[in-house]
């Protein structure tokens, strides 16, 4: 049954606005030869995103009021690729259209992207004001929003893939925004390459889907081929379980790349080289949740393979714990948040793997609020410290422990900022409470839901999933409170920290709005609670079975109490230790196996995963490629070619001697020839 609804054609305005903003900022003005005034360039980009938000709200109201049969609709714009089948029977024609899918899930993502994205645009107008690449920044940012919207609105996998690779490209451009820094260029390249590994998975998944099921559309649209999500069980019956599992794992590989899960997470911490608003927008609120979005979009397929679901759950929960443990020891404020993002994304995958996609999506939303708030807040902190550093030119203490006294992102250069930047601090503490899962903040409702579901379903490894999730929640509380303590409390550790000043309203308003959202999202008295939320999403991601509220509240209270304990302990420890360091230098220097110092050393170095990847893949790859080029290609393949040439020349040189022009030697060879012929004849006669 096709779902085409041409009356929704205006939905295409949503990606169109940022595209127009991108074209004006990126092409029209450079070709005309004059950059726009800063306020105009940034304003244009921001207005474009908020216009999309307005249209998204219209769509939201439409979907909300539509009757059950019309909650999902497709909007056809134009054909993209079309190859007809070669014969009528048994061969699938290949038809891919530019077609949007409007349903609760896509509308939700549109609202998050344009809403949070718009706030971050606004913030960037303040944050990037002094940068010479101002217009370039907004060009990239608008392009990113465009691709991200394509990703979440497409009705088929290839069009989703446009957005999927497109956001990867924008991520590349924005991580490498400060292109003169080598570390920025390296991080950008790393992000692109690691993401590409995942993208190959998505591509192969697409090949499988088309080959076996003949469709790449999510729901039935203009092409008339039954969409994969609708026909999933019937389609799967046609292929073997191995095929289905393989294809789903391939798609999931793509999700691990985009959403920074084990084993492809290493690019995200490095991605912090980009400007801070980028970290908030791309590497926390939107792009990295694309993997969870894709799982939810294709959930009718995923639930058909237990192997795939278990893999997702295990990967998610393992990543959550792993990343949280690394987050414990990081000194760079943005890297703490990066590992925390990876860890929270792991929670969302764990939710998907447990079959509660709605809970995963709910955490996507609340995480977008509080993590964007944290990143923007950290940007405000960095901004304040950096300006004070520029003003003071201070080098008042000697570098130690790899500490750069002029690094505005290092928490060891901060401390005691609370009275100096109060608004930022309060907002960040609110968001920290949310991420820790403190009642009544948003994270309490969303994380609680996931933990409880892992408890309630208990299909994959019973206690273990809940236990690991619980442990991760405790670690999360610890590293987040550690960050807050080191940044805002204690004595200022540099003069810069002493002289820090609060940022302007352009930056504070978005932080404030997000902090409020981190507080109230999920309140049962507001329409934004989880029950209403999953009810709204139901047409897209199915209805989740009713939970047992009694156990849920008990579990929730227990978790809450444990988290509160950790927080109190953490605050107490950091208040009582000198210089905000938990470990004495001599304990740190002791690297005996499994001693606290060793653990500290291993975690500080991120378990040496980057080093291992570098050694095994980059270094060995280079050695192998060098051998392939110098030895195999130049000496081997080309050597044979040149050798054939040389052989011809050499034999020519030899044979040339016979053509020496002396009659006597010609006569001699004639005699030899005649003799040979004679002998040949005689032998021949003898045989007869």
């Amino acid at each position: 049954m096709p779902h085409s609804d041409p009356t929704l054609l205006y939905a295409w305005l949503i990606p169109l606005f940022p595209l127009v903003g991108f074209l004006i900022n990126g092409f029209l003005s450079p070709i005309a030869g004059k950059p726009l005034p800063k306020a105009l360039a940034g304003g244009l980009a921001t207005v474009a995103v908020f216009s999309s938000f307005a249209v998204a709200v219209m769509l939201f109201l439409h979907v909300l009021s539509a009757d059950a049969a019309h909650k999902q609709a497709t909007v056809f714009l134009a054909p993209w690729m079309h190859v007809p089948s070669i014969a009528a029977e048994g061969v699938h024609g290949f038809t891919i259209n530019f077609e949007m899918l409007i349903d609760p899930l896509s509308v939700l993502m549109m609202l998050i992207i344009t809403g949070v994205g718009g706030l971050i645009h606004l913030y960037s107008m303040g944050y990037m004001a002094a940068d010479k690449g101002y217009q370039r920044f907004f060009t990239y940012l608008n392009l990113f929003i465009f691709f991200m919207l394509l990703l979440v609105t497409s009705n088929n996998l290839p069009m989703l893939f446009i957005g999927w690779e497109g956001v990867g490209l924008c991520s590349y451009l924005l991580i490498g925004f400060f292109y003169e820094k080598k570390s920025a260029g390296d991080a950008a390249k790393k992000a692109f390459i690691v993401n590409r590994i995942g993208d190959v998975g998505v591509l192969i998944g697409m090949f499988f889907l088309f080959h076996y099921f003949g469709t790449l559309d999510f729901i039935t649209g203009q092409s008339g081929v039954t969409g994969m999500t609708e026909a999933a069980p019937a389609l799967v019956a046609a292929a073997s379980t191995t095929v289905v599992t393989t294809l789903l794992l391939m798609i999931f590989l793509g999700c691990t790349g985009k959403s920074a899960q084990i084993p492809l997470y290493t690019w995200l911490p490095d991605a912090m080289e980009g400007p801070t608003p980028v970290s908030a927008l791309i590497h926390a609120a939107t792009m990295v949740t694309a993997g969870i979005y894709l799982l939810s979009r294709m959930h009718t397929l995923f639930i058909l393979s237990d192997v795939a679901m278990v893999t997702i759950a295990v990967t998610g929960i393992a990543t959550a714990l792993f990343a949280a443990s690394i987050g414990l020891m990081q000194n760079d404020i943005k890297r703490v948040l990066a590992y925390s993002t990876i860890s929270q994304l792991g929670y969302m995958f764990a939710a998907c793997g447990a079959g509660v996609f709605a809970a995963g999506m709910f955490h996507v939303m609340t995480h977008a609020f509080f993590k964007a708030c944290l990143f923007l807040g950290s940007g405000s902190v960095i901004h304040a410290v950096e300006h004070a550093m520029h003003a003071a030119h201070d080098n008042d203490h000697a570098p130690a422990d790899g500490l750069d006294p002029n690094d505005p992102q290092d928490m060891r250069n901060m401390g005691g900022l609370f009275p100096r930047i109060k608004v930022t601090a309060v907002c960040m503490i609110a968001a920290t409470a949310a991420i820790c899962g403190i009642w009544p903040f948003a994270g309490y409702y969303s994380k609680d839901e996931i933990l409880f579901r892992d408890w309630a379903t208990m299909v994959h490894g019973d206690w273990l999933f809940w236990g690991v999730g619980f442990l991760t929640a405790l670690l999360t509380a610890f590293y987040m409170v550690r960050m807050v303590m080191k940044t805002f409390f204690g004595a200022p550790r540099t003069t810069a920290a002493k002289n820090a000043h609060e940022s302007g309203p352009l930056m504070l308003i978005p932080i404030g709005v997000l902090a409020v959202l981190s507080l109230i999202a999920g309140w049962p008295i507001l329409p934004l609670n989880f029950e209403k939320f999953s009810e709204f999403l139901a047409p897209s991601v199915g209805v989740t079975p009713a939970a047992n509220p009694l156990v849920e509240s008990e579990l929730g209270l227990g978790t809450l109490a444990a988290i509160a304990l950790v927080i109190v302990y953490c605050i107490f420890r950091y208040r009582s230790t000198k210089n905000n360091e938990l470990m004495a230098p001599d304990a740190r220097a002791n690297r005996a196996f499994l001693s606290p110092g060793w653990l500290n050393w291993a975690i500080l170095n991120k378990y040496f995963v980057d080093e291992a990847y570098n050694f095994w893949f980059v270094r060995q790859g280079k050695i192998f490629s060098q051998w392939l080029w110098r030895k195999f290609d130049l000496e081997g393949v080309d050597g044979i070619v040149n050798g054939v040439g040389a052989l011809t020349a050499w034999s020519g040189q030899r044979v040339r001697r016979f053509q020496n022009g002396y009659v006597r030697s010609y006569a001699f060879s004639m005699v030899v020839g005649i003799l040979l012929v004679l002998i040949g004849c005689l032998v021949g006669i003898g045989h007869k």
Binding site: P30, V83, A87, E89, I193, I197, L203, H211, A238, V243
Partner: protein, 525 residues
């Protein structure tokens, strides 16, 4: 027998006619010679647009706009030109790229200019002749004729190692051609055909036809063609002339070499319809070679220190992917292959123009001589990035449209090989982005680079149209290209499939049914 529309003859010989005109101009009048060459290529482009408009995709005749007449009647050799959707795209691709070949040479070629432009125009005639000839002897003449201008273009106007490169190119291609000539002759005599015309020969290839019971002969004759096409394509392990020729040729010559899709075209036009049995037998080997080539060339490309050689190796890798599409023998794969041939020409052509622009500024192709160019050449960087992205097949660029169709089709028959080939998406990013980073990103630490000018007006004229084409083919391929190519691809496959499905035996079954069986996904049996 006699049929003459004239358009194809016109387009083939138009560049040669302009070459003659240019030759008559005085040597010293540089502007007039350049203008003549540019007008010649643009006029050819105009005619090819006319062809595009004239071509009707869903006609019952495979070849259209036929020019056919007796030529050497004692040897049964006809003058026979004809066009289908596939050759239409090849012709368009060639005529589109040649004005750029002429344009980029304006500054670069300062010695013996009249000669240079004459050879370039003659070259265009030879290439168009190859794409449009349907008589094997006529085809062979054009194929060999192409060698002479190319020999001079590399040998006279090339880089420091030009003589080595051009001799290698010439001899290597020549060896392949000789073997192909033997195959052509043998085919003619074995078939007992009355002419060398392709449609005539094709009729003799069917179940119970000239190859029934002669598998060895069939495969040997196919290998004759395979060697010629494989060297020209180039396919691993016959690729080693490519880095030298690409690197030593002047920019214009390199772009011509990129646009030389004659080998790949030859596989589609001649090998598929004429040797269906042999292809069935040899496809696994070819596919393995293609996959090795894809990954191997990508690894080697990553290690290059010279921009031109890096792009040359990347070309070898891309050609491997196209081979995979052709020998998948599915309509998706073949259509994708045609698409990718066009896209590769445009994209790699743009990349070589960009590298040539760098060379014009700094007289160096060494990656190490650059770095941080983004600060002084922002617009150049953007265009370079777009070409790079099309080369790594980012969606909405032409490279993606070709690659996804091709791999999707190839997966239907060779899932494992396609799986390996798809990793090219990773390797291509490794070598292209690493190169991009080393040239564009980083600090502008070399004094010579500090004052490099951004794109000049001429360079913008050369690059913006190519960028537009990259996006046009990436965003709107169906009406532009796919609809014209699809029916022809299906005809070619229909000629290959019935025999392919059941080699060396069995009574003939109706075409569509068998094609359907051959195309059926494995899981649904």
């Amino acid at each position: 027998m006699f049929e003459f529309h004239g358009l194809l003859t016109l387009i083939v010989f138009l560049p040669a006619a302009f070459a003659l005109l240019a030759a008559l101009l005085p040597k010293t009048n540089l502007k007039a010679i350049q203008g003549m060459a540019l007008i010649g290529t643009l006029a050819t482009l105009a005619v090819s647009v006319l062809l595009y408009a004239q071509y009707t995709p869903n006609s019952p005749h495979q070849f259209q706009l036929i020019d056919k007449t007796q030529w050497i009647s004692s040897l049964h050799i006809n003058y026979f030109l004809g066009m289908d959707g596939i050759s239409l795209m090849m012709v368009l691709m060639t005529t589109v790229i040649f004005p750029f070949v002429v344009g980029v040479s304006f500054k670069e070629i300062t010695q013996r200019t009249r000669e240079y432009y004459c050879w370039v125009l003659v070259m265009e005639t030879a290439i168009l002749g190859v794409f449009l000839s349907l008589n094997l002897v006529l085809y062979y003449l054009f194929w060999e004729g192409m060698l002479i201008p190319m020999y001079f273009i590399i040998g006279i106007w090339g880089g420091p190692k030009r003589i080595y490169a051009t001799v290698k190119f010439f001899l290597y291609t020549m060896i392949g051609s000789m073997v192909m000539l033997v195959s052509i002759m043998a085919l003619y005599f074995l078939a007992g055909s009355s002419t060398f015309d392709l449609p005539e020969l094709q009729k003799h290839v069917s179940v119970g036809g000239m190859f029934s019971g002669k598998q060895a002969t069939d495969i040997l004759l196919f290998l004759g063609f395979f060697l010629a096409f494989g060297i020209k394509a180039p396919i691993f392990p016959f690729h080693s002339w490519v880095p030298d020729a690409y690197a030593e040729a002047p920019t214009g010559g390199t772009i011509i070499l990129v646009a030389l899709k004659m080998g790949l075209y030859g596989f589609i036009r001649f090998c598929l319809p004429l040797f269906p049995f042999a292809i069935k037998a040899c496809a696994p080997v070819i596919i393995v070679l293609a996959v090795i080539g894809i990954i191997y060339a990508a690894f080697v490309a990553a290690m290059q220190t010279d921009l031109k050689r890096l792009i040359a190796y990347s070309s070898i890798s891309h050609i491997g992917v196209i081979m995979l599409g052709i020998f998948a023998l599915t309509s998706l794969g073949l259509t994708g292959a045609v698409m990718q041939m066009v896209s590769h020409t445009i994209t790699t052509g743009a990349l070589f123009i960009l590298v040539g622009a760098l060379y014009a500024r700094r007289q160096s192709y060494k990656i190490a001589d650059y770095g941080g160019l983004m600060a002084v050449m922002p617009m150049f960087t953007v265009v370079f990035l777009i070409a790079t992205l099309s080369s790594v097949a980012l969606p909405l660029t032409s490279g993606f449209t070709g690659e996804i169709l091709l791999l999707m089709g190839s997966f239907q028959t060779n899932p494992w090989a396609t799986g390996f080939a798809t990793t090219a998406a990773i390797w291509s990013v490794v070598y292209m982005l690493w190169m991009f980073q080393r040239v564009m990103y980083g600090k502008l630490d070399k004094d010579e680079n500090r004052s490099l000018p951004d794109l000049t007006r001429g360079e913008k004229l050369a690059l913006f149209p190519l960028v537009l084409l990259i996006f046009a083919l990436g965003i709107y391929p169906t009406p532009l290209l796919l609809n014209k190519v699809n029916p022809s691809v299906n005809t070619v496959l229909a000629q290959t499939m019935p025999v392919y499905a059941d080699p060396f035996a069995a009574p003939p079954i109706s075409t569509p049914k068998l094609a359907a069986v051959a195309m059926q996904p494995r899981g649904q049996k």
